[in-house]
Symmetry: C2
Subunit: 325 residues, 2 copies
Amino acid sequence: MIDELIIGLDLGGTFIKAVLIDRDGGLRSETAIETQAAQGPKHVIGRLYHAAREVCDRAGCNMDAVLGVGLGSPGPLSADLAVVVKSANLPGWEHVPLRDHIADLTGRPVAMTNDANAATYGEFWLGAGRGAKHICMLTLGTGIGGGVIVGGELLHGHFGNAGELGHLIVAPGGTRCRCGQRGCLETIASSSYLVEHATREARRGTSSALAAVLDAQGEIDVPDLLRCVRQGDSTSQRLWAEACAAIAAGCVLLHHAFNPQYIVLGGGMAAARDALLEPVRREFAEQTWKLADDKPEIVLASLGGNAGAIGAAGWFLHLNDRNLV
Amino acid sequence: MIDELIIGLDLGGTFIKAVLIDRDGGLRSETAIETQAAQGPKHVIGRLYHAAREVCDRAGCNMDAVLGVGLGSPGPLSADLAVVVKSANLPGWEHVPLRDHIADLTGRPVAMTNDANAATYGEFWLGAGRGAKHICMLTLGTGIGGGVIVGGELLHGHFGNAGELGHLIVAPGGTRCRCGQRGCLETIASSSYLVEHATREARRGTSSALAAVLDAQGEIDVPDLLRCVRQGDSTSQRLWAEACAAIAAGCVLLHHAFNPQYIVLGGGMAAARDALLEPVRREFAEQTWKLADDKPEIVLASLGGNAGAIGAAGWFLHLNDRNLV
């Protein structure tokens, strides 16, 4: 029997990640190349094709022989999961029919979903949510994405945008979000907003530790903030505690909406590991109900940076096996 | 071909409702009897059986001939949807294996789900959500229940308690809910809390209109409050506006979690019709994102008080047709 191989692509604002993977999730090759997003959609689509060819070449596999391509893209996407409606991180992307472009270039069938959904499917298929039928995932990065598996299926909803969990409102009337709402989870716990809050505190002079970082480096990133937390800086500790409490508040909403077995925390901020997991678990236990013994377990993602590409490939395979691509 | 008939039962704190219904949703008979909840679980189980027999008798149908029984019960239920774990409105109910009791008494297969899920399935099958694949419903009554249809399936989640939408937190740090959380939707927009808030205002002397109702009747109910709203009482208007804004905030959460086609508002408070629907729609449009053209339509339930019994029967039929009961 011929190996059945699938290409997984994960389109990010900075990097495109690609994997070539078999039916059992065995990784045959992988690559990461720069997106070069500033050069616009046409160029980026060429880069995606380039990455797809590269994983095939590295594994000595002809692209014609692959079963198909799974693709995770920033969204929102159209309801039929064919078109990138727009993207905050990809300049010039407005109603780009990305799925069909990639199908034309590769000559293979393509299944697309948003990037956070792809990562969620990856964790469900081969990672922290393996074996479960109901999981939610928060991808804690520059923004906050989300994904939901319901009964073993990725949830897209009627309009294709289910699981936009970074835009659950956890602080009504709070900070204005890039999406237009106020008090989205993303405005408290995403790395971009967290860095913005930390920089503001440094400039205000409320934290000499943060001010020192800003003076030395000209900017503050999340690892810097975490270092200040560990060194006992009270302003940094407050910001981090607020972020963890907001994530926990999001988990309370997911608990009652989806009643999942697991809530998986992934994305760049999950690199903080126990510094993230422990306060989130503590706050969640504090905030959520005790009426029934039905609390999801909050866990860290386990696939790392390839979750999106792996999950996109897995999702293609899932749809392909049911003749849905 | 013999008619296939299904019994639908809806167990409430005050009334038990029962219907006998055919495969196409045609109503053959119905009844409503008092629950007599104070007399405990054993008595109430007998009352459920009585109601089931009554709808059969009225239609001249032998119970042995019915396909089976759908049953909506207050929850939380056990994860296998067989046991009522406890209930705020049914004294003495702790771990009652209700599904099997009803199966033993009727001699027919039984499918159980919680009461709000049953109503949601009813609206999905034959009511305001007919033809959709993704809907959410809020049952606005003494408490606030909820239900979610995902891809045509009632969502129960891993622990059986998905869609507990009255316990979505819309006012962090707010009023303590009976469930132990703070700021649940239920603490602002359920009729019991709304009446509690109105009574407090009447006693405080902030509303002469509410105080007059309380003096004359000894209590205030939601229709009284609505009458005061229409008569221009500003305190009553504020309470009602807060309830509608809280419901809208719940709808924003549902928008991003489930991306449904419809959000259906049902339960006793939906009797307010446009006085409920218009402010909720307006607040929802105000609060939710405009990033994508993916807003659910908020609509009123259309099946009235029988939604739960009808939906329970429909859900039994759905499971039965897939050999799942």
